[in-house]
Symmetry: C2
Subunit: 258 residues, 2 copies
């Protein structure tokens, strides 16, 4: 069985031209099947501000109204995705940009409006890897932005971490699948202020303890829920850390185990 | 030899939700290999205005500066392209959105800055149809926006009519290739005010006459130059008219002949 690497990068790489450039140059050199998922970074909020579009909130959560969905589609699927593709081509990595609508690859359903109406946000319902497999067989790297569709013509905003885990799960029956969440820290930290205090691995058991003692909280919770969702659905290896975990020996990172 | 239809739609369809919806529903039903190229319509200018970005001109021609290129990338490759893909999926037509950077399918070079500096505008240098062929073999329809790249990481703004003719030429060695330019009129008109005065066909010879007597002028010249470029490079059939020429018997349209 061949191995595929599903790699998710977030705002800390996307928002900084130099970081993105050096990441893409290294990513292009990774051997074997691979797939990239990118978040949106701060550009969408900047655009909304420039266009005088107010970000709507409901009980402290951002609402994806029609204008916000348009901006997200323009920034994620347009500017960010196409510039990543052009840079990968410059690095001799043949890539194609995807939203979940392209190739009908990720079908989601609009989140119920009760108890909170999040607007055009989609929860993943189905992943179709057939087209992606054809491309990967032809040495083409799919690059996903965090947009899905409902098969009825509606685009939907979907969390990029979730897209990465759902794609990894989709590939798990045909590939030995590795899922990498790249972010600004060396992994899950025992002490948030010490980037060397990395928890080397987290199991279902220790996860509970870390939640109980507050080691894992807030923003890390949904990311780790995605990790455990993936590990419980046949994804073989899951790592959280800086992008260096992909390219350098002796990098620190956290792995997730059952 | 199989037949492929390369179809270009412009602003008159893109700018009107109802027209676009009905076009895409009919396009989805077209049998056999097909490829869609879309222009950008008025949305990019509207966006520029909303973002307080002034359109720069040089000797009466619009200049694609960095801001304009960003807007074009967001609007064409993001909003317009992804909404077309979502609508095609809703019509059971499996489609994938492309810029020329995706799959390295259209390589262009930045137009020389002399005598006029048009900014980030690309003239097509090379078309790679290999990835597109793989997708078409798998019943997937590529949908192109009018953006190309230079293989060095730079996206470039390229005329959508040119993209359609260059793609058609690229396919001409492996497909019986038909190129359709859809616009707001029934074809090339003898009398601009009479939509029934369609010139049924134009040859290299009659083209010269029509230019000399003023029947063909202004905006139609580059479109027709693209047509003759295609017909002289093995494209088998070229038609100009309303989208109805694709779907209805007895529609009026203009064909181009050698």
């Amino acid at each position: 069985m061949k191995t595929i690497k599903v790699i998710k990068i977030g705002g800390n790489i996307i928002d900084d031209d130099k970081s993105l450039e050096s990441f893409l140059s290294a990513f292009a050199k990774l051997k074997g099947p691979k797939l990239l998922v990118h978040g949106g970074g701060k550009l969408a909020s900047k655009m909304a501000k420039q266009m005088n579009i107010t970000v709507k909130m409901n009980e402290g959560r951002r609402i994806t109204d029609t204008n916000t969905l348009d901006i997200i589609t323009m920034v994620y699927a347009g500017k960010i995705n196409k510039n990543i593709i052009a840079q990968l081509q410059a690095n001799k990595c043949n890539a194609i940009g995807f939203s979940g609508a392209d190739g009908n690859s990720i079908v989601s359903e609009k989140r119920p409006t009760q108890p909170i109406d999040y607007g055009f946000v989609g929860d993943v319902k189905k992943v179709n890897t057939k087209t992606l497999e054809v491309l990967i067989e032809n040495n083409i790297t799919p690059v996903f932005c965090a947009i899905t569709h409902d098969e009825n013509g509606q685009l939907l905003n979907t969390n990029a971490d979730t897209i990465a885990s759902e794609l990894a799960i989709g590939f798990a029956s045909i590939f030995n699948t590795e899922l990498y969440y790249c972010f600004e820290k060396n992994g899950v930290l025992k002490d948030i202020n010490d980037d060397n205090s990395v928890v080397e691995n987290i199991t279902t058991e220790t996860y509970k303890t870390f939640i109980a003692d507050g080691t894992i909280s807030d923003g890390m919770l949904p990311k780790l829920n995605n990790c455990f969702h993936a590990i419980n659905n046949n994804v073989n290896k899951i790592c959280i850390g800086k992008p260096s975990m992909l390219f350098e020996i002796n990098s620190l990172y956290t792995t997730i185990q059952k």
